[in-house]
Symmetry: C2
Subunit: 370 residues, 2 copies
């Protein structure tokens, strides 16, 4: 029952022909769009990311563009982080909250100019949220989804490859900073970013009709680096402690429970949605849960199937939920991600999770693992 029915309701990406030709075997659906998840050899995809360079179609990372005279005020109101000193060409990892302080998304916010911002989004329809807020609040902005589909180039050899394609200047680009540029006339925004900790860039293609052309150019230039296809890598992202919004979070999580405390300016002077709720959380002693790593005792040197979040227990009582378990090739250790009650985390006690062979003892650790 793992066969998926494709239909016009699920969008294809501008790189679709290329990824099928590259041997795509597994997909998911993300932002109502096809998300490649594997090309049939997860081990090779992992090694390529850790040791070489991989090309990922991450078109599912949709943008919501806020443009117009009130763009800054609108972006700020939507964001639980102080944007006062943000520069053009800068990106920031931010939390978007609702009025109750629940985290709705964890995008990278990119400032293209003083009156033009992109939220580069995780998996939900933030276009709805942003449009509703902008219209009801009366901001003088247009909110829309531009024709922008990121292609990620990730891994330790990514910088050499990108420098070859775009020039040596790219080496000076700081993390989450970007430039508007082009490749043989293909318009794109080049950003030092990507959902891994192995370094790399994302090419925000700005013309969906030229996806396969861009993909081809990167593949040709990448040949000497043995570039190959891949996708956001489940094992690497757990090792790196990267949050999967909607997977690691529950619908009622606030950003402080999602490991985003350091990216949130709770008392930020310009008002933002959720400010009072997050201030209340802090006034009441802090978040109930924390996002942590689990080091798990297990004899199984493989990722466990985990199609759903499962309970984390202590003396039989549920004290959290686990959202991912993988066998880390680099650590030679089974590790997981979980939201666990803060009192349990602070006491430093061990917990239990259910594994394929029964109960497994787990130790709570800080993130990232590596």
């Amino acid at each position: 029952m793992n066969r998926i029915t494709l239909s016009p309701r699920i969008r294809k990406t501008p790189y679709f022909k290329s990824i099928v030709a590259a041997g795509l075997t597994d997909i998911s659906v993300y932002n109502k769009m096809v998300m490649p998840t594997s090309y049939g050899d997860l081990q090779a995809e992992y090694r390529r990311l850790i040791e070489g360079v991989a090309i990922w179609d991450v078109s599912v990372e949709r943008q919501v563009e806020i443009v117009g005279p009130d763009a800054h005020a609108c972006a700020q109101y939507l964001t639980a982080r102080d944007l006062t000193n943000m520069k053009e060409g800068q990106g920031k990892y931010v939390a978007m909250c609702d009025h109750e302080g629940r985290i709705l998304n964890d995008p990278v916010l990119m400032k293209l100019s003083g009156d033009r911002y992109w939220f580069s989004l995780a998996d939900n329809d933030m276009l709805l949220w942003c449009r509703a807020i902008a219209a009801e609040k009366g901001f003088d902005v247009t909110v829309h989804e531009p024709d922008v589909s990121p292609l990620a180039v990730q891994g330790p050899k990514a910088e050499d490859l990108i420098a070859e394609l775009f020039g040596e200047d790219v080496r000076a680009l700081k993390y989450f900073w970007f430039v508007e540029t082009e490749l043989d006339g293909i318009p794109l925004v080049l950003c030092r970013s990507g959902w891994s900790k192995q370094g790399g860039f994302e090419l925000f293609l700005q013309d969906g009709s030229r996806g396969d052309e861009l993909y081809g150019k990167v593949m040709v230039a990448g040949e000497k680096y043995e570039i190959g296809p891949g996708a956001p890598n489940h094992v690497e992202r757990v090792e790196s402690g990267l949050l999967s919004w909607g997977g690691d979070t529950t619908p009622d999580s606030n950003p402080l429970e999602a490991g985003m405390a350091r990216y949130v300016d709770i008392d930020c002077e310009p008002d933002y949605i959720g400010k009072a709720a997050l201030q209340d959380v802090m006034a009441n002693g802090g978040p109930e849960r924390l996002f942590v790593g689990l080091t798990i005792e297990s004899d199984i040197a493989d990722s466990w199937p985990l199609p759903e979040r499962t309970p984390v227990r202590q003396n039989g009582e549920v004290v959290g939920t686990m959202s991912a378990v993988v066998f880390s090739h680099r650590l030679q250790q089974t590790i997981g991600l979980a939201q666990v009650n803060r009192t349990v985390v602070e006491a430093g006690e061990s917990v239990e999770v259910e594994g394929p062979g029964g109960r497994n003892v787990a130790t709570i650790t800080e993130l990232p693992f590596i």
Copy 2:
């Protein structure tokens, strides 16, 4: 590449064990949840729906509940239809629009009481939209997703089966009307509804922990009617001209272009979001496109693969988009659904679509086909 990666980001349904046991083979993702699409024999599933009775897990049809003193005012503001005379226990098929008149969703709105409404939704995160509007507009309501997961019983024998389970009174229930009831203590809302034109009911289970129990009870009672598993049926829905929001519509469609004109009260006295925009559309001569059927000349007696919307042409010029093509078993005819420019529809001229064997001539027809 039709294999899907399941993860905690994609929710399972409360009937998950039952549908896997029933032989689920194909799924889609809808409202970020597993949507069963086939149990391996589409022909048998079609016949069961047309001639007998089928059980469908349609948990993906999520509810947004609006509850509180301003629930009516909030629901009205969110809905392009006059709710003034709506009764408790009544449902209505409605369009929800944004401020530009674009259709965001086509739910059945259910009035549970004067201060409690459910939007029973198609595929997008309307919880975000409703929460943003309610909070910014200052409505005194709570907006949340209740623990409600519909199970549909569809087909000509559905009424006999439901009468056996819930009593003869259900036969008097009008279309989209419902009652709050229970089955052996399992709380649910029973509604005469479902995404087919073959008649039937939806059981809005109100306790997600009892899904398999409810499924089992319906299956046991349905044995003598030869009930079997199924899913919203692509062929039947095209024959019946039922709209698939997000599949048949484009992001900029208004409800008048989605075949919903008769369900929209454009000049409705109580204000609703999108009113001015829809009034503008009418003041400017009406919608640009119409949702129509296509009768297609084809030698292929099978549904065409149509993973994406494809162009409808006339003399080489694009005049619309086709979103579904099936071979109708009952009509012995290839038929499709499309949005086509109104001028072309009104002129009654034939058009062309691209089929597996090249260009095919198509005649525009009214919906439904049957």
